[in-house]
Amino acid sequence: MQAIPLWKKALSRPELGALAGAVLVLSFFIVAASGTGMFSPAGIINVLQVAAQLGIIATAAALLMIGGEFDLSIGSMIGLAGILIAIPAVEYGWPLWAAILLAFSCAALVGWINGNLVNKTGLPSFIVTLGFLFILRGLAIGISRLLTGRTQVGGVHEHVPGDWFAALFSGEVATGLFAWMASQGWIATNFAGNPVVTGIPVSIVWWLGLTAVATWVLLCTPYGNWIFASGGDKNAARNSGVPVHRVKISLFIFTAFSATIFACIQVMDTGSADTIRGLLKELEAIIAVVIGGALLTGGYGSAIGAALGALIFGMVQMGIFYTGVNTDWFQVFLGVMLLVAVLFNNFMRKKAMEAK
């Protein structure tokens, strides 16, 4: 009996490809974007912020994909949630926390309906949630035009101060630490003596927090095992006593929640809601998840992989901006990256399934 070498174990992890990809992209831009400020503290925060926004929804999309389903309504849910937060707060004077709770309640309902439709009808979630992609987008536009006559609602900023719930989705953390680092001369300051980077945006904290929780759930809890089982073979899972239907409904609710978290952060950040927010985000989330090593057919994948996928996404998007390459090329790169990731994952999975 001999122990299995660590490197061989690492090879069978789903996030390996994403890690290699992230390192590759990082080293590419360290060379290509040297001296452009991409790797200054402010530049790094920018990259991470882009990655974080996508990462929040990608984490939920990863759990759902491992559970064997897709959610194409994430992007539309972002637009609807933004409207549900902004209109009650701005037009009807609701406290912001109540408006956010309303958005989360509606998200729970959408997730519940998605999950039940998939469970009860046996239709592919691709079709069911494609329907909701249009339904939710239409609802967002319809509701906001009906109530306000517009499709954009501004003026949320003035409601944020003093609202305990909104504070969870706005501003920065560790501002004291950054002020102290600036006073030590470790990070650059502007003409007024304030640090150029005043803190870590709350979106990054949400991203890392959700990734950590999702990883823990997947690897360490019975519920995580049920997610893998439901995605791997739902009949086998059900015969072994796994509550497959409940697992799937909860995962659909979680993706709708993640879209709402995304919307909250965006609305607090920009001070406005727009019905077309979140367009194509569901596909970007799927790309991040697949680059992260998840299997489209379910039963295999990781939350850390999805986070790395989002990081690659952020690095490329900002890297193209910093290096001055025409941003048109971003989409070309994204498509190529997706194909390479899928091919690589297929190859690795075959390796992992080979006999001892």
């Binding site: 095992n225 299997l295 999975r349």
Partner: protein, 286 residues
């Protein structure tokens, strides 16, 4: 043997699907430490029988007794809780998941409390490794995917899982049908071990060479009815084989083959005589 309370017993169980009689008046009993081999052609009612035993169907008529007590299963979960574990042909195994994850699927051991409750991986890995070692399969790493195991080993994981979670009655649906000789012997050895551990085993197979060494008794099903139960002492391997193949059909097949052979020899003989005639005629023409 007859004075012992059977672990599982069916008394004149029938199952109708609408007007179709899938099972009629089946009586069967299996004691603990006994292997009952269920034989029958396709459509004989084997799978209806095991689905009735495992709670998928409830019988239309008749009673089932578990350890002497009457039982009615509303769903497979009730049968499982009562100690009847069924290993179906698809095994309920997920190839991409690890051995440990599969082994404890749906019944994960946990430590901690509240939101910090987590799977006790150390314990789970150790148990999975030990249970596999007991049946002579040395798993180097219980976190390796089930897909890397051979068919026979997967079958053993499925059986080991059922036994570990306290099965009293083990129902195996064609466990050796897709396996090679070596792998089948691994599974058969394990069935023998389960029997020695005091389980009542119901074993469905088409292969008499697999059935005969481990079985204590044979029940033959045909068109939904039982053609009888035979103790191993009362029946030879050839008789079992005959029963399984559907004796009467085989005999008529034998007769037909004999007929073919006879007509073949006749044709051959006539051809030979023709050839010899030719030879003689050509010899005479020289």
């Amino acid at each position: 043997m007859s004075e012992r309370t059977p672990m599982i017993e069916m008394r004149s169980v029938s199952k109708h699907f609408g007007s179709v009689i899938a099972l009629s008046d089946i009586s069967m009993k299996v004691c603990s430490g006994e292997v009952m081999c269920l034989l029958g052609d396709n459509g004989a009612g084997k799978s209806t029988l095991i689905k009735t035993l495992s709670g998928v169907h409830s019988p239309s008529q008749g009673e089932m007794y578990l350890d002497g007590k009457p039982v009615h299963f509303k769903s497979p979960a009730y049968a499982l809780d009562a100690g009847i574990a069924t290993v179906f042909q698809d095994l309920a195994m997920i190839p991409l998941m690890s051995i440990t994850r599969n082994f404890f699927m749906g019944r994960e051991p946990t430590v901690g409390w509240g939101p910090f409750k987590r799977i006790d991986w150390k314990y789970a890995d150790r148990v999975a490794k030990e249970e596999m070692a007991k049946i002579g399969i040395d798993v180097r790493d219980p976190s390796q995917a089930v897909g890397t195991l051979s068919g026979g080993e997967r079958q053993c994981v499925a059986i080991a899982r059922a036994v570990y979670f306290g099965a009293k009655v083990l129902i195996l649906d064609e466990p050796t049908s897709a396996l090679g000789v070596k792998q089948a012997s691994v599974v058969l050895r394990y069935i023998a071990k389960a029997k020695a551990d005091g389980l009542a085993v119901i074993f469905i197979t088409h292969n008499v060479h697999h059935a005969y060494p481990v079985a204590d008794a044979f029940t033959l099903l045909s068109r939904g009815g039982s053609l009888g139960t035979f103790r191993k002492a009362d029946i030879t391997r050839e008789e079992v084989l005959n029963m399984m193949a559907g004796g009467a059909e085989l005999e008529s097949l034998d007769a037909e083959l004999a007929e073919f052979q006879r007509s073949d020899t006749e044709r051959k003989a006539s051809r030979e005589s023709a050839v010899s005639r030719k030879e003689t005629s050509s010899a005479s023409g020289k």
